[in-house]
Amino acid sequence: VTTSFANLTVRAVLAEIVGSPVVDRIADEDRIFERRIVDSLHLVELIERLETSFGTEIDGADLTPENFESIAAMSTFFEARVAA
């Protein structure tokens, strides 16, 4: 798994939720919650789709804003999880 693959996977998951046109306009460092790109109603769907796509279960301790606040943060987090 490379960084670019993780990034593409996160973007694909987001696109399933909010649509490709929206995701195409998001920079990797954009804060997706503070910009309401993903609203609170879609949090569960986002996490569950990410778990499925990366084939890993997210521990409660990892559910922090730092790991999920942006595409870059999620990519880094899942890259590390899958590599571990």
């Binding site: 919650f33 503070e34 609170s40 109603l41 949090l43 996490i47 409660g60 922090t64 804003p65 606040e69």
Partner: protein
């Protein structure tokens, strides 16, 4: 800690399997036991208590333009016209205790609210008995009506309340809670506001053959909070 999944929930329907495991209609799994008096079911219900330090910046989340937030406190209007009749009893009880909160109005209609307490008390919503130090607070009653749940109101209420506490400077730590099964509330507290779990409260009680709790059968918990048999919805 949206309360839509717990408060007002109907009594779950129990289905038993041959193995003795029992599954409720709301997704909880319980284990069954037999006694000489007849069949009894032990229901296990897990509540996570979260904490957040207030020296960490509070994120701000945008809301729809039509959303207005108003403060509730003992020194404000005790009968805000927008508060519906269904919420009046809770409103008055919370204000009588000295709690404060914020409520949201959209086009003149009540959309949701969130409360905070500085006093040790029994929280009817979670069933938790709260013990607070002078520099601690406890948020509860986080509720947004279903028809307003796409306007970012829940996050706006929490952000406003945390910001107010932060600016007042008296509170250093805030507690909240979420049912373990309520993943949406869990994720909102953790991901949107950086709450971290500090205690697990396991609430166990014995149900009778009709699925009702037997009085006094709850197992007490220890820690910053403990549970009470007076929770009204479980």
């Amino acid at each position: 800690v949206t309360t839509e999944q717990t408060v007002g929930a109907r009594q779950p329907v129990h289905r038993s399997s041959a193995s003795g495991a029992t599954h409720t209609s709301d997704g909880r799994t319980t284990t069954s036991a037999w006694s000489r008096l007849g069949r009894r079911v032990v229901e296990r219900h897990v509540v996570d208590v979260f904490e957040r330090r207030l020296d960490v910046p509070v994120p701000q989340y945008p809301t729809a333009d039509a959303v207005q937030l108003h403060r509730l406190a003992p020194d404000t209007d005790p009968q805000p016209a927008a508060i519906p009749v269904t919420h009046r009893d809770a409103l008055h009880a919370n204000l009588r205790r000295g709690d404060s909160g914020w409520y949201a109005v959209v086009d003149g209609r009540f959309a949701g609210w969130l409360w905070v307490s500085r006093l040790s008390h029994l929280d009817r919503w979670s069933g938790l008995r709260i013990r607070l130090r002078p520099d601690e607070a406890y948020t509860y009653g986080w509720e947004v009506l279903p028809e307003f749940r796409k306007d970012g109101i829940a996050a706006a209420l929490m952000a406003r309340l945390l910001t107010e506490l932060q600016e007042a400077g008296e509170v250093r730590r805030v507690y909240g809670w979420a049912d373990r099964d309520n993943r949406n509330s869990q994720f909102q507290l953790r991901l949107l506001f950086g709450f971290s779990p500090t205690q697990e409260v396991q609430r166990m009680r014995v149900l009778d053959r009709w699925g009702r709790a037997i009085r006094g059968s709850e197992k007490p918990a220890t820690g910053p909070v403990s549970c009470s048999s007076r929770r009204r919805d479980v």
